[in-house]
């Protein structure tokens, strides 16, 4: 097995927008290769700004970022190297889709990497197949539904085969069915060994999916760790206005009432909690 290595190391990032908004105020974060990280925090806490730093769209005014233990080189060539490794799926697909043709749209990134048309074509077709885009691949992007646009915007990046994929609130504004479909795609990415960094407001989902939850507040990381630990810290939840997932709330109450053992591993899914309860015997409840 490959030894864990650090893919992102952000050190003391500061960034202030031209209008004076201080978006990042000394942010530190490391991400290991292959990790599934959920970034959470209120709107305006600096998540998107941080993401734009990770592939060099924004340059920190103070601090530095290392990708694969190498500081980002902001020359043309250096940025190309970084953007090959780090892909961002933007929150709003309308900000990302520039072409009316789905195939053209997906081929843009891969052709920029300088591969041959033939190779690009093969990769584009493979991604179209993989993400289930085939049924609407011949439609123009302006006739696609929100969920379909989202899938195309993920394909845009996936085709470039990045090592780290950043998804900015991928399931926001989607209906539950399409949101679950995107969840499935995200799992697919992790399965391929791609490191995934995604921002979300959905604590229940983060609890199930993430290896680690990172809480952003006011341009800084105010807490990080295993989701079950983070979501049981009343202090952190209050600071970030997050709600404790229902599974944990029920689990904690059952522990307090002495029905379940404190030493049990906190459940991530409803099924796990049900398992604990069944083991104990429903009658006791």
């Amino acid at each position: 097995m490959e030894r864990k290595r650090t893919i992102v190391r952000a050190e003391d990032l500061h960034y202030t927008y031209e209008d004076g908004t201080q978006a990042l105020k000394g942010l530190d974060l490391t991400v290991q290769k292959g990790e599934k990280v959920a970034v959470m925090g209120a709107n305006g806490s600096g998540k998107s700004t941080f993401f734009l730093h990770l592939n060099g769209i924004l340059k920190p005014q103070k601090g530095r970022i290392l990708i694969d233990e190498t500081p980002i080189d902001y020359s043309r060539k250096g940025l190309l190297q970084v953007r090959k490794k780090v892909g961002i799926v933007f929150q709003n697909p309308e900000d990302q889709l520039f072409s009316a043709s789905v195939r053209q749209e997906i081929s843009f990134g891969i052709l920029n990497l300088g591969v041959s048309e033939k190779e690009a074509e093969e990769k584009v077709d493979r991604v179209i197949e993989e993400l289930g885009i085939t049924p609407f691949a011949h439609k123009p992007t302006h006739f696609l539904s929100g969920g379909e646009k989202k899938r195309v915007s993920i394909a845009d990046i996936l085709v470039m085969e990045p090592e780290l994929m950043i998804l900015d609130e991928p399931a926001a504004t989607l209906d539950p069915k399409h949101a679950r479909m995107i969840d499935g795609i995200v799992d697919q990415l992790s399965g391929k060994g791609i490191t995934v960094l995604l921002s979300t407001h959905d604590a229940e989902r983060a609890l199930i999916w993430a290896d680690r939850v990172v809480l952003f507040d006011d341009g800084k990381v105010i807490g990080q760790g295993h989701p079950e630990d983070i979501f049981r810290s009343e202090e952190l939840l209050r600071q970030t206005n997050l709600e404790k997932p229902a599974v944990l709330r029920i689990f904690d109450t059952l522990c307090e009432e002495g029905i379940l053992d404190h030493k049990l591993r906190p459940p991530r899914r409803v099924e796990e909690l049900m398992g604990y309860i069944r083991e104990k015997g429903i009658k006791q409840l």
Binding site: Q96, L111, N112, P140
Partner: protein, 260 residues
């Protein structure tokens, strides 16, 4: 315009070779404009009409309505051709204005009618092309013709953003209407102004967001994308070649007969 776009995407001839369709339509158009013949134009108008109604999703009535759009302009434009100023009464009609007469001559009537017919036939060629060919395909075609890349890239972005901005404009207008923004002329004009201002700001924001996302995908000033290869079948090429030759022969014949 949205309707034309939609029809093109659902045309049964959408996947035919763009080059062949363009050669067919543009070739016909050139012959039509070059000879300006009654007969040739009528043939073209009928042929293109039949083909478009059969091989695009436009129904006959819709196609008829689409033909009426340019007709309005043509009528207005040719009114001036119909009439002449003469020193004495002559022709089919004459109206005295002071010492001069405004007259309508048989020749100018024929000239005007021919102008309208040729124009409509030309329009029918273009309708055929745009109702069976999608915009990305047309742009691919232009790219192969070595149109400057800047023009193609601008077309790509503009075409995409028509829909993005139209969506925004519609959403803003609906929201305004919900708050009685179109109660009377005064509020309508104010709402329109507000909508355009908001749209402009949105457009600026969207363009910078798009630029960021393109940069994130290693954009370096040139948009490189895959082009669709849709080779034409030999039979189709021969058919179009035979048709164009036939049309050309008819055109030459009409020309030699003198203004048929």
């Amino acid at each position: 315009m949205m309707m034309i776009d939609k029809l093109a995407y659902s045309s049964p001839w959408r996947y035919k070779s763009t080059h062949l369709k363009s050669c067919f339509a543009i070739g016909t158009l050139l012959i039509c404009v070059a000879v300006r013949s009654f007969l040739v134009s009528s043939v073209i108008l009928a042929l293109m009409g039949c083909l478009t109604v059969t091989y695009s999703q436009a129904s006959l009535s819709r196609y008829g309505k689409m033909m009426l759009w340019p007709l309005g302009f043509l009528m207005l434009g040719t009114i001036a051709v119909f009439f002449d100023v003469a020193g004495e009464p002559m022709g089919l009609l004459h109206v005295a204005i002071g010492s001069k007469y405004i007259v309508m001559l048989t020749e100018s009537l024929a000239y005007g009618a021919r102008l309208i017919l040729v124009s409509l036939a030309s329009v029918s060629c273009l309708y055929f092309l745009i109702l069976t060919t999608t915009m990305p395909d047309l742009m691919d075609g232009l790219k192969r013709l070595h149109l400057p890349w800047l023009v193609i890239e601008l077309m790509t972005l503009i075409y995409r953003f028509i829909f993005v901005l139209l969506d925004s404009a519609l959403a803003i207008t609906t929201a305004q209407n919900c708050r009685l923004g179109n109660r009377n002329l005064r509020t309508s004009i104010r709402s329109m102004g507000g909508m355009l201002a908001a749209l402009f700001i949105q457009a600026m924001g969207k363009s910078s967001a798009l630029f960021d996302s393109m940069e994130a995908r290693c954009y370096e000033g040139r948009i490189r994308v895959l082009t669709e290869h849709r080779p034409a079948a030999k039979k189709e090429v021969l058919l179009v070649a035979a048709y164009l030759t036939g049309l050309l022969a008819l055109a030459v014949f009409c020309h030699m007969k003198g203004g048929l």
